[in-house]
């Protein structure tokens, strides 16, 4: 099916099912229970899941396959957002031109930047991409204010031309829509104590994420993907074989840039506001973390990572002292206060502390990310049943070089 092999088909179908039934899966707790705050099944957050999923999938095509660590990918997302909002301002609030434009503009932008940055590799590449992203950020805040609206952020206004819009001005800014269906459309389904929200904006983004995911599977399994892996494992040997790595890495860079642009376009499609802070280098760091956390170089990893980070960010930054007191209520008083005091460091404004710790723990203990963690677990439990042929005990690695 779709030119995928059996294993990938199953993976794709699993992701498809997860995405389609997300409103159910993410709302496991009844509305009036104390645990309802751990639900994630509301449109805003679900949209973030899939949009950042796209961003991370794209980043993974560059970082996971070629090993080039870009620290400036947020710039492409930001550029995509601006392009999207401008399309909505100039043409129409239908999101199709906006999304196409944001993908293309980000593609062109990443072609230019990639052409320059890819002349270096390793840490130099990271610094160069960082430098370009910081430049874009600084310019968006200062000189380019007529285009980017600076600190206030670029948004729709009544005086926009919107030349493709036939309807006369109604006195209010029209909502972003897809051929008439607005992104906010949706319905709620109440069943028992549960309320499930189905939102058009979410399913629209989710459809694009599925397409993006499918393309990424095809890239991973293609000869092109094999080339990219070759770049990561040994560039010198690739050169000796008579292959130039540059066009392949540049193509990967542009593809991941376009993914970032698409994510930026979707962000403004569901909420037409573009700000320069999306381009700040910590935003680039966040997508790196998503990819690493899930598992760089794996297919499903980035999607998982994007989901986990966004979920925890949302939950942790909303918790406050009262919630914590309620959570630790079962403990004796003294212990409860101590636990609340400790936990308080990590929630609310302290979310960044949690993020930093997660970052360190993952890189230290689980360099392969959640996917590797899952594989380790399954190996741990599945071992007795069928010892696999290539377990490390029977095929030890060659002894390290003496002088190493």
């Amino acid at each position: 099916m779709f030119g995928l092999n059996r294993k990938d088909q199953i993976l794709f179908l699993v992701v498809l099912a997860l995405v389609v039934f997300a409103p159910f899966i993410l709302n496991p707790f009844p509305e009036d229970s104390g645990l309802a705050r751990f639900n994630a099944g509301y449109p805003d957050l679900m949209q973030r899941f899939v949009i950042f999923g796209i961003f991370a999938i794209g980043f993974n095509i560059l970082f996971g396959l070629t090993g080039y660590l870009s620290f400036g990918h947020a710039a492409f997302l930001g550029v995509g957002s601006y392009a999207g909002v401008w399309m909505m301002k100039l043409l129409t609030v239908n999101v199709v031109p906006a999304i196409i434009a944001s993908t293309l503009v980000a593609g062109v932008f990443s072609l230019v930047i990639g052409y320059i940055c890819l002349r270096r590799s390793g840490i130099y590449f990271s610094i160069l991409t960082l430098a370009f992203a910081q430049m874009s950020f600084a310019l968006a805040y200062s000189v380019l204010t007529p285009i980017t609206a600076g600190e206030s952020g670029l948004q729709l206004s009544l005086s926009d031309p919107r030349i493709l819009e036939s309807a006369a001005a109604t006195g209010s800014i029209p909502a972003t829509n897809f051929f008439g269906i607005t992104m906010r459309d949706g319905f709620e389904l109440a069943a028992g104590g549960w309320v499930f929200t189905f939102n058009f904006g979410y399913y629209f983004c989710a459809l694009l994420m599925l397409i993006a995911f499918y393309i990424s599977i095809r890239i991973f399994r293609s000869p092109f993907g094999m080339m990219l892996r070759a770049v990561k494992s040994n560039q010198t040997r690739m050169n000796y074989t008579g292959l130039t790595p540059k066009p392949y890495t540049l193509a990967a860079f542009v593809i991941s840039g376009m993914y970032a642009g698409l994510a930026g376009g979707l962000m403004v499609a569901v909420d037409p506001l573009a700000g320069a802070d999306r381009m700040f280098w910590t935003a680039s760091g966040e997508v790196v973390l998503m990819t690493i956390l899930g598992g760089a170089g794996t297919l499903i990893g980035p999607v998982l990572g994007a989901g986990v980070i966004n979920y925890f960010e949302n939950i942790f930054s909303r918790l406050n002292e009262r919630d914590l007191n309620a959570m630790f209520d079962f403990l004796p008083d003294g212990l409860q206060n101590a636990m609340v005091a400790v936990a308080q460091l990590f929630v609310g404004d302290g979310w960044l502390l949690t993020l930093g710790l997660m970052f360190m723990l993952v890189v230290i203990f689980l360099p392969g990310g959640l996917v590797e963690g899952g594989q380790r677990l399954s190996r741990l439990f599945g071992r007795r049943k069928k010892p696999s042929g290539d377990d490390p005990e029977h095929h030890p690695k060659p002894a390290p070089h003496v002088a190493e």
């Binding site: 390793g122 130099y124 370009f132 200062s142 302290g350 960044l352 360099p367 002088a403």
Partner: protein, 343 residues
């Protein structure tokens, strides 16, 4: 002419900070081969050493003076720092006034300890991991340390003034034959520049003229041979890491009167310091220092109104632009050794 000279002077203090941070980064990279994204936070930690020291000095007790009243008519409460009570008012207020330079005494052991703990606890395990992993783990550490600072000191900048004597500006132009009042320069910036020169000189002298420094330089050039000679190079390198942490910390301590420290300051300096290291040449100490001053001065030229009128916004991007040009024209940086991280 005087305008150009003024911009050079203005660039010196920022340039000094860049140079000091970049010096530490290069030391760490040259010895341990580790890319330390947490170095900017070490700078911030140094700055907060100064804040802490001032806070400690000004711990006060309260007395009620019955003879005076405040504006509500209650007896006035007077805060007297312990230090004034113990050593007399003159000495006490002198110490508080000079808290910033004096906090160097606190910062050196504290930063050295932090450096040792960081190296032994975390960085040690990352020698053989790819650069990407090193960048990521130290980036995470930077976020954590930054949040810890924020937890203890809050999000707002904290004023830490320089000693009274240095708070004035002085007429630099007269000294070198310009008209009076053309080149006015704040005292403290000059102090900072001289301080940076002393530290840089000390680090270079240490590496050049001591046996320890010789071993370290040998280790930078060929680690395996030095190990084969029976020298525990790892221990030496750990100490080098601590020295780099102290240098960054001291740069932060003395910078506090120029920019009030806030928890974010490290990150702002970090990105630029990395650019500085790359422009100077990865692994080249003189390159890092030169590039630091060069970019600091370049930045101050770019913020002249005459320049920003022609090319608006250039002051925001000049450093990054310089980095891009240098990396493309001369990939190993201004003074990088041939073959070191040249790809």
């Amino acid at each position: 002419m005087d305008a150009i000279l003024l911009q050079i002077l203005n660039g010196l203090d920022k340039g000094s900070a860049y140079a000091l941070i970049a010096l530490g980064l290069t030391l760490i990279f040259g010895t341990l081969g580790v890319v330390n994204f947490a170095h900017g936070v070490l700078f911030a930690l140094g700055a907060f050493c100064a804040v802490t020291f001032r806070n400690i000095l000004s711990i006060s007790f309260e007395t009620i003076d019955e003879t005076r009243t405040d504006f509500l008519g209650n007896p006035a409460r007077i805060q007297t720092p312990y230090i004034e009570a113990w050593f007399g008012e003159g000495v006490g207020s002198f110490l508080i006034d000079w808290s910033v330079p004096l906090s160097i005494l606190l910062a050196i052991p504290v930063m050295a300890l932090i450096g040792l703990a960081m190296e032994r606890g975390l960085i040690k395990h990352f020698y053989k991991r790819p650069h990407a992993d090193q960048i990521l783990v130290t980036f995470g550490l930077a976020i954590v340390l930054q949040q810890i600072i924020k937890y203890f000191y809050g999000a707002n900048p904290i004023q830490t003034p320089a000693p009274d004597v240095f708070q004035r500006t002085f007429d630099f132009g007269v000294l070198i034959g310009f008209d009076p009042m053309t080149i006015m320069y704040p005292f403290w910036r000059l102090v900072y520049f001289l301080f940076a020169l002393v530290i840089i000189g000390a680090v270079f002298a240490f590496l050049r003229f001591t046996t320890f420094g010789m071993v370290v330089r040998a280790g930078m050039a060929d680690r395996e041979t030095v190990e084969l000679l029976g020298i525990n190079i790892n221990r030496r390198f750990t100490i080098v890491f601590a020295i780099a942490a102290v240098v960054a910390g001291l740069a932060g301590v003395m910078y506090t009167p120029i920019v009030s420290p806030n928890y974010n300051m490290g990150m702002n300096f970090l990105v630029i310091s990395f650019v500085v290291v790359v422009v100077g040449g990865m692994g080249s100490l003189p390159g890092a220092v030169l590039a630091g001053f060069f970019l600091g001065i370049l930045e101050s030229f770019a913020s002249m109104s005459a320049v920003t009128e022609v090319i608006p916004g250039i002051n925001q991007v000049i450093i990054y632009l310089a980095a891009v040009v240098v990396l493309l024209v001369r990939p190993r940086g201004l003074m990088g050794r041939k073959g070191v991280m040249e790809e």
